[in-house]
């Protein structure tokens, strides 16, 4: 197993300070990029590295950069999405708190590669520590000339602004993030025509990447695409739930779920077994113990009707009441729905009301078909991915754990031993 790249120095005391970062070769990739590479070469390197966006959609980063039109005289923006709100995901937060300069360096290189002179970090409002550390790191980077005017004497300018969100999950959706950044209500925009790459922030071409994606960039530039690929390529799995060693695990992409859970996260507590897994945050369809040998990559999980998403693996052991978990995730989306489109706004409320009823022992036999039907009606009709995130896990749970729901309805109680519900 290769050494970790992104998380190698995580947890070292004082790592967030620029001297610690410089001591381990920090900003060297930036210096090389600015001196030795043309912007196009960097784009080519990133494309060759096969890096895919780490926000959830997995769009190839190099291709995204190429899609951003570069017309002379037109303002372009770089926006980094650090509004990490997906339940179960905490990789960006870990990087921001533990190694903020890595992200800043990635941003400067990205800005150089895309010839952008104004960049924003949209930081989740609740990241208090992250904000403190990132702000300080940014100030240090400005002071040392890694950000600002004429970076390292190259003549390249970049201003970075940290913008804190106000606690809306929807603002992690790229177009809603841009609306919010512009000072408006966090509503996703219509695509087309508002593809960020073409008509993004203030209607200008905008490179919009996830924070983790930024952290990969310095390593690609430092190692070159091939050497970078030999690390896996690496990916950060956020493992949480019923495991003994939860946390961010940097592993080669495609590591089987079983290996991640049992070898790297310590497996379930003693005497327990894995009952179900969300492989990519609460938006991904729930999987059962049977699926544990699946490699955790984009394609394999998609084949199972689930997805890698932001690679947040939530492990549920056999003490878990699945309907209660699903109700919790539905409640999350209900509360976080922006209210713009009908299916998401109304569907989530209705689903949560039905699930409430079932879990209170007042379920009806027809409710299961009703749940499935509402979820089906929401599929493909929502405006943005938020609403589309609700049906997969609900429908998968109805498929894999129908008996549990049925028991709730028939017996009015939970059949999970030690579960939270009567």
């Amino acid at each position: 197993m290769p050494e970790p790249l992104l998380t190698r120095y995580l947890g070292q005391p004082g790592r967030e300070e620029i001297d610690a970062y410089l001591a381990t070769g920090g900003y060297r990739a930036l210096a090389r990029a600015l001196r030795e590479r043309t912007p196009d070469e960097i784009v080519a390197m990133v494309e060759a590295s096969g890096l895919r966006g780490r926000g959830g959609a997995g769009f190839p980063t190099g291709r995204k950069w190429k899609l951003t039109p570069k017309r002379d005289g037109e303002t372009r923006y770089l926006v980094v999405n650090a509004d990490e709100g997906e339940p179960g995901t905490f990789k960006d937060r870990t990087l921001i708190e533990g190694d903020p300069h890595q992200i800043i360096e990635g941003m400067v290189i990205t800005a150089y590669a895309n010839q952008v002179h104004q960049a924003y970090i949209y930081l989740r409002g609740e990241f208090f520590l992250g904000h403190r550390r990132l702000s300080r790191a940014l100030a240090e980077a400005y002071a040392r000339g890694y950000v600002g005017r004429n970076i390292l004497g190259s003549g390249f300018d970049l201003e970075i602004v940290i913008h804190r969100g106000a606690g809306a999950y929807i603002c992690g959706e790229e177009t809603a993030l841009l609306e919010s950044l512009e000072g408006r209500r966090g509503f996703p925009r219509l695509k087309p025509p508002y593809y960020p790459a073409v008509r993004g922030l203030y209607d200008r071409p905008t490179v919009l990447n996830n924070a983790e994606t930024m952290a990969h960039i310095p390593h690609i530039v430092a190692l070159g695409p091939e050497a970078y690929k030999s690390y896996g390529p690496p990916i950060l799995y956020s493992v949480s739930g019923h495991v003994t060693r939860p946390g961010v695990k940097e592993l080669p992409i495609g590591t089987p779920l079983r290996e991640i859970i049992f070898e790297h996260a310590g497996g379930p507590r003693a005497g327990r077994s894995v009952k179900a897994v969300f492989p990519g945050g609460s938006s991904s369809a729930i999987l059962t113990a049977e699926h544990l040998d699946t490699p955790a990559d984009f394609e394999s999980l998609q084949k199972l009707g689930s997805m890698l998403g932001s690679s947040a693996i939530i492990v549920l052991d056999d003490t878990t009441c699945i309907p209660a978990v699903i109700r919790r995730t539905v409640e999350f989306y209900r509360d976080e729905s922006c209210g713009k489109c009908t299916p998401c706004r109304e569907g989530t409320v209705w689903l949560s009301q039905i699930l409430d009823r079932i879990l209170c022992g007042r379920g009806r036999r027809e409710d299961l078909d009703l749940l499935d039907s509402i979820a089906r009606n929401m599929t493909g009709t929502c405006f943005c991915p938020l609403g589309e995130s609700v049906p997969p896990s609900l429908r998968a749970s109805l498929r894999y754990f129908r008996d549990e729901y049925a028991h709730h309805i028939e017996a009015g109680a939970c059949d999970v031993a030690g579960g939270p519900h009567r």
Binding site: A168, I170, R185, L190, P192, R334, D335, E336, S337, C338, G339, K340, C341, T342, P343, R345, E346, G347, T348, V349, W350, Q353, I354, R357, L370, S373, N377, G380, T381, C382, F383
Partner: protein
Amino acid sequence: MSSERAPASPAQMVHLTIDGRPVAVPKGTTVWQAARQNGIEVPVFCYHDRMPPLGACRMCLVEVEKMPKLATSCTLEAGEDMVVRTQTDRVRQAQQAILELLLVNHPLDCPICDKGGECPLQDNTLRFGPGQSRFVETKRQFRKHVRMGPVLVLDRERCILCWRCVRFGEIVAGDDALKGFERGYHSQIATPAMEPVRSKFIGNTMEICPVGALTSATYRFRSRPWDNRTVQSVCPHCGCGCATTLNVRGADLTRTRPREHPEVNDIWLCDKGFFGYEFVGSPERLRAPLVRRDGALREATWDEALGRVADALRSTSPEAVGVIGGARSTNEDDYLLLRLFRGVVGTNNIDFRVETAYPQPTSRAAWGLPVAIADVERADAIVLVGCDLTEEYPILWLRVKKAIDRGAPLVIAGAWEPEVARWAQHRLIHRRGGEAALLRALAGGVRAEDGAAASGAPAEAIRAAADTLRAAPRALVLAGEAALEQPGAERVLAALDELCAACHGAPLGILRGRGNSGGAQVLGLLPDMLPGYRPLGDPSAREAVAAVWGRPVPSAPGRTVRGMLEAARAADLEVLYVVGADPASDYPDARAWEEARRGLRCLVVHELFLTRTAEAADVVLPVLAYAEKTGTVANIEGRVQRQDQALLGPGVARSDAEIFVDLASRLGSPLAVASWEQVFAEIGRMIPGWAEGARLAPPRPGAGAGRDGAGIPDGPLPRPEGALALVAGRRLFDRGTMAARCPGVRGQAGEPFVAVHPEDAARLGLRDGMPCEVRSPRGALRLAVRVWAGVHRGHAYAPRGYDSAPVSVLLDERGPVAVTVRPLGAP
């Protein structure tokens, strides 16, 4: 965020198939529009064709071949060879699903909802809905209806969050009156801080609301759609002449709605148009003629009243008869007025411009827009000089807003900051009297510094605005009352001409006149004009008119309103005939009017209500309001539109036309008029191009018109120490004769006030809301203080149109007045 789509040449057509039907539409058309144009209905809620698509309600889903998911047709641009299906099972299933979801939290209180019967949600549910809901839980609950000001009632339970009203405020009106609050299923529409809604266009949100969430407080529970008879009409308030539909239930005018007229108001209406109809049914309407007997006005028969008027007219030489008004009547009424007074009585003392003491000859400065209202949105730059657009001509603002959205800069010059100032690229707030210098500086005729020195506007801003205007190939200059109602008006006009010339020959619009001023002007209710903008001095024009009338037309030019009042003071004018006007409140010098009244032997007034003028009259004749007679009117762009009779008048009230015909018979020269159509046709024989829907644009001054203000003093006038220069402006919501009797308008108008700059307020010890006395050399008024940074320093702004506190009491027809503002009740 503009939905503008350029008109496509045939080469830019795209071909697609909708429900098996081949369809060709211009590039840029959405699938929804393409379906609609071909008679295929796809239901929508959030989409409104006057706003760009939003795609929020998900109602318009259709199936498109090669697309894995259903697509929202309102947002999907039609593509070449696209195959669209709107009737498949999948589409129907999705439509039912969306409607079921929308109805999950809709209270279904249709029986008590004003929208019931004309509700898109009802209609779509019936046509596309599931028929039965599977929802058994509790619905979302809000406090039931919330009154948001005098006209808007909000019911959040009924709201389906289509965002139309919010986007209307953002995109169409630009006033951000309603906004979305909270998130997800807690989302609700509200005004900031739940204050009463502040908008001049909120009625439109009630119209476009697809449910009964936004309803009208004035129409509330008065009628159901099936009770209403609809009658086409034209709004009688400002001069825009918006096309409206009146709803009538029995003898009750229940509401006014906009009627689509792409050339005038499109589909919108301002709130005065929406809610300013209730005066028609007011119990205060005059029901019978009144005649002054023993010093008091007493009810009389028509025979007695008209006999008295006829006697007065018979016993007076024609030069001693004057006529004021005509802007509230139809064209046919006005035409018969002309035939009576020019033809039968034989006087040219006719003037409809009651509210001005500085009338410019129409041949030099005709009121109105030289371009069509619809063309305003196509201007590349717009200059507003002394015109408070949303207060005076709100519908024009919607056109200006569209121009701004297209990128046209707005330049504002005035003594106070109008509401639309936040949309202006350049704001030139200046001293009253400095207009001409400022405009010449904008035109480049004088240096910006000189303009700045004379006007008080910053030189930098003048220069920047001048540069902006120079860069616009098709600018439009609009000047209003505030710029022209002053002794230096000729100079301002000359400066406006200079500015227009500097702006590559931009057209100049003079935004003045209300109601049917446009019709009164084109018909020549003016001392020196004949119908069709022909000068009275032209003998051939007089002969042409005489040929139709069979009576000679007097050749000597008549007196203006101001001239008539001066003549009355000198006892040269004996009989004054006022038609639908209230000079006692509206002539900008109340004392001048009172003195004139004392000099009159007989004052005859056509009125709806007992106004100040009517109270002082010898004969008051009750007339019909706009909704009670059929005829035509013309607006500020000169467009002739028909309004139909919706109601019978109160008591024995008659139309103006009937009265003129009766008087003519009594004077021995019957007019032989059978119907309004006959009069309309006769006007057509006199004015080329006269037809319903035609536009008779005011003429642009000829080359020889020679507007020259030389010799007239420019710049601010000296005023006593501590005094403020008074500027009078119009408000959309006021408390004039008609508006005061419309609760919806009256309520929004609030109490009359005087606005002063914060610095002046501090100097004079005035605080917001404090009662004060405003005193000018002519009179005094008690008003409430409003501290407002929008008014230029050293100026006091007072609104016209409050009959309880007419600002004309303070004004002086001889020139600008300085007022002292003294706090009342303060220690």
